[in-house]
Each structure stands twice: as C-alpha cells, then as structure tokens.
Assembly symmetry: C2
Homo-oligomer: 70 residues x 2
Amino acid sequence: MAKNLRLKAARAEKDMTQGDLAEAVGVSRQTIHAIEKGEYNPTIRLCRAICRVLGKTLDELFWEEEETEQ
Amino acid sequence: MAKNLRLKAARAEKDMTQGDLAEAVGVSRQTIHAIEKGEYNPTIRLCRAICRVLGKTLDELFWEEEETEQ
DNA sequence: TAAAAATGTAATATATAATTGACATTTGTG
DNA sequence: CACAAATGTCAATTATATATTACATTTTTA
C-alpha cells in the first residue's frame, strides 16, 4: 500500500490529530498511523467511518488507479 | 453490513458469475458471495480490485450513508 | 530551551477477513 | 423433465486487520 497523504491532508484540514481521528472512528491511534503510512489495508467499514468524520468520499481518500505492491 | 445489491447489479451488467468475478480479483467465490450477502467487511484493496474489474467507483459500489449494524 | 503534545515504531495478542472443501438448493437450458 | 451451471450454505483452517502496551523521536508551544 502507498502512503495515504490525502488522508493526512484531510485530517489536517479538520485540525485533528491521529489520536482525535482514531477516537472519532473508534480505532487505535496506531491503526490510523499505519493507514497513513501505508502499512495497513483497512476494511471498507473503517474507510467509510473515516470519510464521514473528515467529510470526504471514498474516492477522494481511498481510490488508487493501480495497486502498487501485493 | 447490508446486502450489496449494487455489486450484484454491476456484476450482472458485465455478465459475470460470482466465480468469474472471484477469479478476476483473485479471491474465492465464497468471499464474493459473502460480500454480496453483507456478511463480510472486505478490505479496501479488495474493494478497489472489484471496482476496477466492474468499471465502477468505490462510491458507486461501496459507499453507505450510515453504518447499519455493528 | 524546556516541557508537552504529536508522531513514529515494535512486539505480542485477538478478532475477523478470506480460504478450502463439500454439499444443498435454485435457476437456466437442451 | 433432466442436466448443468450458478448460487447458497456450513465447518474448519489460515492470513491478516486491529488492539494493547510501551517507549523513542519529532514537532509545538509556553
């Protein structure tokens, strides 16, 4: 998975820390960190929760034209 | 998770069986069945793969205004 | 510039996505 | 109708998303 800079930017736009977002969507801070870093392949439910909190769509935050690795 | 009828319809539009789609995205037929039935909370990577094969966006196939259960 | 807040990282544990194999039921077609 | 293909379902297993705890590093701010 590639780094998710769009997520990082959307979070910054809302002035939320990784911890704030984690709490808002009900996961651990490390999970948000791992998603932004591209280490995790999150579930669609978590992606939707993040989108709702940040006011973005799935396509805006989680679409990728091509799958890079694995 | 709610039944994913949009996925079922998009698959029908491409005249693909559950088995065809499963093979195209590299998962088992049961996984596709479970997603359509709403039993699984698939990963974003699998959702993207399905979207690419069916020529749809994440928002078209996997967005939900509200999370129903659990 | 020191303290606090935020972020990065790692190891271990747990929940659940996904596989596999097998069979039952439904649907389409000769 | 009979056969085949597609779909539905179940149980057991494996892979991996996520949690938890803990600490190190970077960034912010008083």
